[in-house]
Symmetry: C2
Subunit: 372 residues, 2 copies
């Protein structure tokens, strides 16, 4: 089951409020999806994620295919049951990870051959059909078409050739997909070329998907270039389908993405930064190992109501990081994800109350003024 | 504030039920104290510990003296506030850790000089007076006299000489202690010599402490020898003071210790084993990485009601350990500590109901039959 309904069109912005319904419950967009690569959002239990208010998480097909294997997860009734998370899940197609294995892969029109970095270099082939089959076994509510994610910079010829292959793969994914009740999203590619992006959106819409993602961004390009690609794509996507900007990004990126009509985001930034001791706050980033926090009694962010900020001082968190204590990683992750989830809640409220442009302006101004 | 009252003397056992009252709440004994070395029970938040039902935890003076420093913790109002734990805390004296630094230390009657492994080998001296001062700054409800913990085996001459020094240090700790409302426990030493143990107990009782610990056991000796040392000591300790067996041990050790009149235990075994994927269960140990659990849908222990066992399969936990996921460490720790805390609760109930001997017999028989 998958339905998408537009609740409200924003005022003075392309940002909008929508509601996704899945058999594992609803998702209100714009939404940020925490990344749970190996069937766990690193350091957190499902109960932690519910406390934080996460409505949907992402898991990585590539990693779960290699370990523990999609067959095992299917036997357990799918990812939700396997990991004890009963809210919606989205799986990526594995494309992004496979293409990151620069040295280990070979791309043909059929699919991608690669050596696993895990099992002593065993050879695997992922085709569009297999990517769909794996994701059907994993049982996510939303699954993604298999795509090629190209490096930046790339020549226009290479970007076009790769994009055309991604389109052929998208059609094969659409064809291969069984009637599982899962939603299938297509992925717009086209490098940093606005005309390719436009053509990619049009081609995918012609094939017809339940939602559309924008892939291949946040790969090293400048922010203005990223925003330009989003602007070149969104107008060519149907208003009655969700739009998902993959692998993005900073709080500022989320704000700019929403403003340009994006409904869904995912990124490892809040979770990975948390484990490095870098926290997102209402006044910019905070690096907890900084000696200025040695005797600081304040919580990470006095404006935050997460478990970490309700309970612990910066000094204690700094001590945990310096002492290499595992608890530090979880407490930091709880805070950073609470910040992201809270930001999306605030964004939704500001759209609902027709004041998103002011909200965005104030948010960016405050961070510019205090970012250290 | 510290009071100790005997609630019930066991039937057919030296085991007994007692109640400790502190300004951070009560403790029912026999009790197991999870080890929170660096002001955190590794991987767990205070909320986790409360869920598990831990009534008191232990923290290590040596580690906290070196990092973040007892001065800082005093500024924060003590360990309880610093780490967000408002139930009782016991701190050890640092002796055990300092004496583990075999290469780095020099012992004189004054105290111990050692090089810190942390701050580039800075030299520190810990005297009995300083050990008390540090523990007063940390603010634990129960603090320990500074003692020398000798290796095993040790000659009787060495054991006697060291024990006599420990007695002189104990008297100095007693003398140095301010009127802070903290309880001060003395530590019985004497190696593996019953006459020394008896003499040590007598000497410490003459000095007079709020409670008595048995130190220097579980250092490599056989189980029968350990039990012999406990039996040589307990009869010489006053019935109206708590008896604490330091650094012990396995579930079987707890059972045998209680049976011999021990009220308090601490050990890194449940927490350290959990992080290695070795779990304690009602049917013996379970090594989660074993391939037999690859597709196992059962919880770690079907008889356990902890969060981990209520929520996750062995197969999922095995996957988390194999994938190196941090969540595995916490979920395993929640289970192992729940097992230890639950075991002590069952032991107390069996003493209350005058059936400890049968309970012990059945527990040991079951584990012998199923231990793998």
């Amino acid at each position: 089951m998958f339905t998408f309904s537009l609740t409200k069109t924003g005022t003075g912005t392309a940002g909008r409020l929508c509601r996704i319904a899945t058999s594992h419950g609803p998702v209100s967009t714009p939404v940020f999806m925490p990344v749970g690569t190996q069937a766990t959002v690193k350091t957190l239990s499902p109960a932690d994620l519910e406390d934080i208010g996460a409505e949907i998480i992402l898991a990585n097909t590539y990693h779960l295919f290699l370990r523990p294997g999609h067959g095992l997860i299917r036997e357990f009734g799918g990812l939700h049951r396997f990991m004890g998370w009963d809210r919606p899940v989205l799986t990526d197609s594995g494309g992004f990870q496979v293409f990151s294995l620069a040295e280990l892969r070979k791309v043909t029109d059929e699919g991608v051959t690669f050596q696993s970095p895990l099992d002593g270099g065993a050879k695997h082939v992922i085709t569009p059909e297999l990517a769909v089959e794996i994701q059907e076994a994993l049982g996510a509510d939303i699954i993604m078409a298999f795509d090629e994610c190209i490096p930046y910079p790339a020549t226009k010829d290479y970007a076009r050739e790769s994009m055309d292959r991604t389109h052929r793969w998208a059609a094969r994914c659409r064809q291969a997909k069984k009637d599982t009740g899962q939603a299938l999203f297509g992925i717009v590619q086209g490098g940093m070329y606005t005309d390719l992006r436009e053509r990619s959106a049009g081609t995918l819409v012609d094939i017809g998907f339940d939602g559309y993602a924008i892939g291949g961004l946040s790969v090293g390009e400048t922010k203005p270039l990223m925003y330009e690609m989003i602007e070149a794509t969104v107008p060519h996507l149907p208003a009655d389908r969700p739009r998902y900007l993959m692998g993005v990004g900073t709080p500022e990126d989320l704000m700019e993405g929403v403003d340009r009509g994006i409904d869904m985001f995912d990124c490892v930034m809040p979770t990975r930064n948390a484990r490095n001791g870098t926290f997102f706050t209402s006044f910019g980033k905070l690096v907890i190992r900084n000696s200025r926090y040695e005797r600081d009694r304040d919580p990470i962010d006095p404006a935050c109501r997460c478990y970490t900020c309700r309970t612990f001082s910066r000094a204690y968190l700094r001590h945990l990081f310096n002492a290499g204590e595992v608890l530090a990683l979880r407490l930091g992750t709880i805070h950073n994800l609470s910040f992201y989830v809270g930001l999306m809640r605030d964004i939704r409220l500001s759209i609902a109350e027709d004041r998103f442009p002011e909200f965005k302006r104030a948010f960016l101004a405050k961070r510019e003024a205090t970012e250290t």
